[in-house]
Amino acid sequence: MTADAIPATVRAQSNRVLLVALVATVAMLFTAFAAAYMERAGARGWERMDLPSLLWFNTLVLSLSSAAAEIARRSRAVRWALPAAIALGILFLAGQGFAWAELRAQGVFLPTSPYASFFYLLTAIHGVHVAAALVALFVARTRAPILGLAVGFWHFMGIVWLYVLLILKVLG
């Protein structure tokens, strides 16, 4: 007896529960980082710095990718949508890399300041999750049942990115 014996409706339902649980656990991870950030921002030696404006471009790329993924989820007939979402996702990761390079060129490294540490750490952890979500989108190209799961998680990655930006730009 394999998993295929589970009826499609039940399978879709458990995929939705899986998505909610995944979102909850990843959300707790970033909430913990936010709490740590707030705590650190209230302590000695806290100093903010300007972040590369490239991040705004990256934000736009990630939103467009989310939109393309949503089009793919709503209609499988639009065949360009999912590859476009994946390509934009890869562009986002490359953009984050360029933002790191820009800071590096300015002499800002991970241990330079607590703020820089948080910036690198948060973007890195987000990037790892984005990469995992991209793999899920890639797999979903040929496996229709998990498309909803993958796209849902992809939207969540966009929301987490906005949350990270909110932490870094507004809090502390």
């Binding site: 589970i6 899986l18 656990t25 991870l29 909430t31 709490a35 650190r40 991970l110 241990p111 607590p114």
Partner: protein
């Protein structure tokens, strides 16, 4: 439905929840031998300090304590519970397997490298981690702090990362399976309470582990990438070290945000399994099914907002401490509901004293004793006196050591016939019970006594301090009882090994129980329930329903008008 499968696919990289469950249990037993042996070394060092001083240096002692705690909490109790959850959830809710069998296989095969990494860490330069199972910085963050802070601590963090990853995958599976794969008629309110226990524990784990992941990542970064999240300028070995302006306390907050719910992740399923074992031997329904379930939900919520009671002695703001005290004492209310319901389940029972029942009764005692000690530690004023003493050691060993292990033993004796289609030996079971529950409860109650006298914990030789010297009379008796406890586990292992091959063949329902797993053959075939899934018509515990009726009514029996 029958597949021809190779040996590897059937027994090693199996997708079958029953095989994976047994794999987890066997792994937990192997790790328990290691962690138990460490405990024996620790006890020997305490009882005979002169001999111990020659055998190994003081640094090794704290490393053994660290690894004993880490392995017992995460690689013995957690793994054994994962094993039982894997085996029981699909069978008890009437499913053919987990919702994501591949993910399930992956989660087991992620925890195996985690175990290996932890074991290997004993043999690297500097030895295994020595910063406690709580891994507080700066001991865990500065590589030169103690020998165990070097490679051993890095491996500890790697092992924990793998464990958390595995636990999360397993938890996602338990959650989706319980919520989506229940058979027809198996409403949430008809579920065996064990499934409720695993459900609450899983949700807690999924929400509470990520902050520890975050803390571990920041700690790794402090150790290897020169950041200063947790480390701060300090004197080390008489020299000033400029390490930055981090906040070591932050780590404690993040750790205990996991650490406290983890207690309930371990204890709730154990209490629920005990609930599940009781009715088969009392021939009565369990007392207060619904209040117990609601209490667990309340405990689940509260357990996430009381972590500060582990940190009363860190000099926190007294108002914060007062909040954590009050919130902690509030947990006593729903927790007492569980304890009292366990006790009340014995009301008017016609008891059958088989081995699982003996263990279940011992669990009730341990819940009472452990819970009582918790009151004094949850209250800030008394905790400040008790915190650095054996009172704490005795308390948490009663809750996450004794309650958990006794109920896991009870569960293994109870569900063994379902796992292997054979009965375990009753005679050996009784010997094992008296030689386990007796010493275990005695040891940890005696530790409370030592703690009341001020006996310092975490110290390789408490007699070094003048004020502890009067308080040495219990050290040797505790050590001797610990030796009895450890060596008597050979009876259990022998009973398991013998019964798997030579035990008396078991019927499908040897304990005359009502829940679904007993309606499947022993052992259940691949797919569990044959051609058609069972349909549930009634509550999980219909025993002695009334005059002139059968002694028990399985959940699959249709209601008659």
């Amino acid at each position: 439905m029958e597949h021809e499968q190779g040996f590897l696919r059937r027994y090693v990289f199996s997708y079958d929840h029953k095989v994976i469950g047994i794999q987890y249990l066997v792994t937990a037993i192997i790790m328990a031998v290691v962690a138990g042996a460490l405990a024996m070394i620790i006890r020997a060092r305490l009882a005979w300090p002169d001999v111990g001083a020659k055998a190994f240096p003081p640094q090794a002692y704290i490393s053994f304590v660290t690894m004993h705690g880490t392995i017992m909490v995460f690689f013995v109790v957690s793994l054994a519970l994962s094993g039982l959850a894997n085996f029981l959830i699909p069978l008890q809710i009437g499913a053919r397997d987990m919702a994501y069998p591949f993910l399930n296989m992956l989660s087991y095969w992620t925890v195996v490298p985690a175990c290996l990494v932890m074991l290997v860490s004993f043999f690297v330069t500097g030895g295994a981690a020595a910063a406690g199972w709580t891994a507080y910085p700066p001991l865990s963050a500065v590589k030169e702090a103690v020998p165990g802070s070097a490679l051993g601590q890095t491996l500890w963090l790697l092992g924990m990362a793998l464990f958390i990853f595995s636990f999360t995958m397993g938890g996602l599976n338990f959650l989706t399976t319980i919520l989506n794969l229940r058979t027809k008629g198996m409403t949430m309110r008809r579920m065996p309470i064990t499934v409720w226990g695993f459900l609450v524990a899983t949700v807690l784990g999924i929400l509470a582990f990520p902050p520890l992941t975050a803390a571990a990542l920041m700690l790794l970064s402090d150790r290897h990438l020169d950041t200063s999240f947790f480390v701060t300028d300090m004197l080390m070995g008489g020299k000033y070290r400029a390490l930055g302006d981090g906040t070591p306390l932050l780590f404690q907050h993040l750790f205990w945000f996991l650490g406290h719910p983890e207690v309930y992740v371990l204890v709730l399923p154990c209490i629920c399994m005990t609930f599940d074992i009781l009715p088969a031997f009392t021939r009565r329904p369990i007392f207060g099914y619904r209040p117990s379930v609601y209490s667990m939900l309340v405990i689940g919520v509260l357990s996430m907002i009381v972590w500060g009671h582990h940190m009363f002695v860190t000099g926190m703001n007294p108002y914060v401490g007062k909040y954590f005290s009050i919130a902690t004492v509030i947990i006593t209310a729903p927790f007492s509901v569980l304890g009292v319901n366990l006790l009340a389940s014995l009301w008017r029972a016609r008891m059958r004293f088989a081995t699982p029942m003996l263990f279940a009764l011992a669990v009730i005692s341990a819940v009472g004793l452990g819970g009582f000690g918790g009151l004094f530690l949850g209250t800030m004023t008394s905790d400040i006196y008790f915190h650095e003493t054996y009172f704490v050691v005795g308390h948490f060993h009663l809750m996450i050591g004794t309650v958990t292990l006794l109920s896991i033993f009870g569960a293994v004796y109870y569900w063994f016939p379902k796992m292997f289609g054979r009965m375990m030996s009753e005679r050996l079971g009784r010997w094992h019970f008296w030689l386990t529950a007796g010493p275990m409860i005695t040891i940890f109650v005696l530790m409370h006594m030592q703690g009341l006298g001020g006996m310092l914990r975490r110290t390789y030789d408490p007699s070094l301090y003048a004020y502890n010297q009067h308080n040495s009379s219990l050290r040797l008796p505790i050590t001797l009882l610990a030796f009895v406890l450890f060596s008597s586990q050979t009876i259990f292992v022998w009973n398991l090994a013998r019964s798997i091959f030579r035990g008396e063949p078991a019927a499908a329902n040897p304990w005359e129980a009502t829940t679904l797993e007993w309606q499947a053959p022993s052992p259940p075939p691949h797919g569990n329930f044959g051609a058609a899934l069972p349909v549930v018509h009634r509550f999980a515990y219909e025993y002695s329903p009334g005059e002139g009726q059968a002694d028990f009514v399985p959940q699959t029996v249709e209601k008659t008008a």
